[in-house]
Amino acid sequence: MKEDQQDSVTIHGLVCPRPLSHEDTIVLGHGSGGRMTQRLIERTFYPPFENATLLRGDDAAVVETPAGGRLAVTTDGHIVSPLFFPGGDIGRLAVCGTANDLAMVGAQPRWMTASFIIEEGLPRFLLERVAQSMKEAAEEAGLIIVGGDTKVAERGKADGLFITTTGVGWIPAERDVSGANARPGDVVLVSGTIGDHGIAVLAARGELDFQAEVESDLAPLNSMVEAMFTVCPSIHVLRDPTRGGVATTLNEIARQSNAAIVLDEVAIPVRPAVDAACEMLGFDPLYVANEGKLLACVPPEDAEKVLAVMREMEYGADACQIGIVEDDPAGRVLMKTAIGGTRVIDVLAGEMLPRIC
């Protein structure tokens, strides 16, 4: 810069604005694939997820497959508001949801990948908390996170954080679990109280302005499933009643198996606070989401053994029988009500909304 030009600005030396390092907040640059992305991954994801496969840093994870048996693959998108709620958070939800999908086909969860779509402006410490939560859930479920992706969406376009996962598990050769395998005579079991997750999240969201002594039941169920298989190698059906609740899930099973499922209203376990919240809003607990429960259809001669084993596990203490599988009416779910009437249980139609009637 010449200092002797007329009418020019006086330059006092070179000034080169150094780019601000955005350490505390996620900005669009973090999703660009360049150095900022790399730093974000190294600082936020590598430490908690630490494993050799992941740290190799190749474009895809290469894993050793066990001999025999089959592989199970699942994918899931996780959207939850608020991101942190009593009993869990979106990170734990992503891991448990994936592990549970695999466990429901009799698979042992092994590997998982996670794609993060982060909204511009999300504080980085929240991402760290999510990652830490995922690490803990992964340890509990016995799986490792071998790959991931990070993108940043403009402010207002990603509600904080979306996580999409893919999970792979291994199914031992002798297992054949499917929604189509329910047989007349089978006993229908549930691993515990229903409706906890949906009500906990609704209360946490704050829109309906109520407080409930309820926590989400979010949990990885694969250890319990393994224990169930040791006493009953021929479990027919396993399914986790997430969105749409127990009612929707049982309808899926009834349809797939072309059988009828008959429930006993009195036998269905619901926490008093969940019951009260549902009464107040006009909801039915049968339709409220769960994230740490499973439904099982087992041969009648094995029901007692399976229940005993479930009740010894952390997430099965309240396991009980809630119904049986019958021939007729095929594809439908019925319930004997507390007063002895019969009611048809249908799938959830649309969004569940509080009612005034």
């Binding site: 969940v274 009260a276 919240a277 107040m280 005034i356």
Partner: protein
């Protein structure tokens, strides 16, 4: 038109000139407006519809009805029920 749920008043306060209460529905607590039950006290049970208490539940009446019904049922137990359910 009548989703009215019974709950117990655990606290009474005022908000913007309105008599309000914290109502416990059995593990779930929500605020409700008590303007229409001015004589309601802490500990009373009220029927709440869309966030408003519309009636104070009478324990006396409830007990009377249930007692009357239990009598009917006990009598039936002795005589033997005839209904095909």
């Amino acid at each position: 038109m009548c989703l009215g749920v019974p709950g117990k008043i655990t606290e009474i306060f005022e908000m913007e000139g309105l008599k309000m209460g914290k109502v416990d529905f059995g593990g779930v607590v929500r605020e409700a407006c008590l303007e229409y039950v001015p004589e309601a006290k802490q500990g009373d049970y009220v029927v709440v519809h869309v966030g408003f208490a519309i009636s104070i539940l009478s324990e006396a009446e409830a007990q009377e009805t249930l007692a009357m019904l239990r009598e009917i049922v006990d009598i039936e137990d002795e005589v033997g029920p005839e209904v095909e359910a």
